[in-house]
Symmetry: C2
Subunit: 231 residues, 2 copies
Amino acid sequence: MRITTVGLDADDTLWHNETLFRLTQDRFRALMADHASPEALDAKLAEVERRNLALYGYGVKGFTLSMIETAMEVTGAEAPSKIIAEILAAGRELLAHPVEPLPGVRQALDELSRDYRLVLITKGDLLHQEQKLAASGLGERFAAVEIVSEKDAATYDRVFARDGDGAARAAMCGNSLRSDVIPALEAGAYAAHVPYHVTWAHELADPPTGHPRFAELASISDLPAWVRSLG
Amino acid sequence: MRITTVGLDADDTLWHNETLFRLTQDRFRALMADHASPEALDAKLAEVERRNLALYGYGVKGFTLSMIETAMEVTGAEAPSKIIAEILAAGRELLAHPVEPLPGVRQALDELSRDYRLVLITKGDLLHQEQKLAASGLGERFAAVEIVSEKDAATYDRVFARDGDGAARAAMCGNSLRSDVIPALEAGAYAAHVPYHVTWAHELADPPTGHPRFAELASISDLPAWVRSLG
């Protein structure tokens, strides 16, 4: 078999993530309604998140710190303390949120795990990603779990060398063109895009239409047949 | 050779960490001086950190969130916004702090890396630990880097199986009896304790004096000779 290893993204591929961030952001807008319009608040939060990304990386803790910083900036450092307490609580709830696999995920993983080595490849807070995987009940399907700080071609090269037979014999699947598809193709792997209904602005990119190792799938349920078709 | 792999802790073993947290905590005390005595503040912060540990894990971002939460609790949710802004800044400075290897570290690693596979095994924020390793200039000495959410016997068992020839053929070295020494011994590895001058209360434990695979070393400079003595 040409393909021996299948890499899978976690957030918004196996379970909801961005939707929960958006709900938290809605709550943040409501909290700040006396101080900023939703549009102005969103723009400021996006700016703060972008500024902090290199320092905080991806995940709930950095998002919580960026919301607090945004609240300070929008109010001229006069944010009512109640708002800060509410932001802290929202962050903790996001960390403790129950994890439910997306429709079709369990069956697709069961089918794939009979013939392929499955590797979970995800960004975010180390502890939180481990906790979500445990809470999802999907942990046993994976031969390896790689929680990484950045998803670039070098990451896929390293991960598929360590946990598989190299990128040329691996297929990657995820909801982000920018993080899951394009760098995996660059590393020499096959890659399938399974869109999620919302995407964080930071993760947007153009699809590599026409690339010989790329597929656009409507659902993760289509993944096993596509992987098998690669030979 | 019996020993093929040497595991090394990072924070307070290869470079300063707890000292920097303590300096940040001093700054927090000064910021809060109008609201709480140093003793009351320390006790509250320790309580909040303990309460959040399962959710936040180890690292600067969780520490920053816990300082903010402590400030809210101590002031009855009336913390002046300026204090929150200062705590955020202190957290960012802690994340961006320069990294300087402790005395003797570079030489000990150079000596060890000629004969043994070196594996860095550390807790904390994934991105921040990678950044510190890069900033330290020590990265090339390590054959593998494992950033883990918890250091227990199962962790050492898994890491030394994956990155070495199993725990029985590995030696672990670090400043924490609780995280580096005791669980490594439990996993079947050798373990050396190299104390740092301050230890986070959470990491304190009794030394396993008399254990046949344990050594207490005064300095990391003594590590290469001890590892060689194991055969």
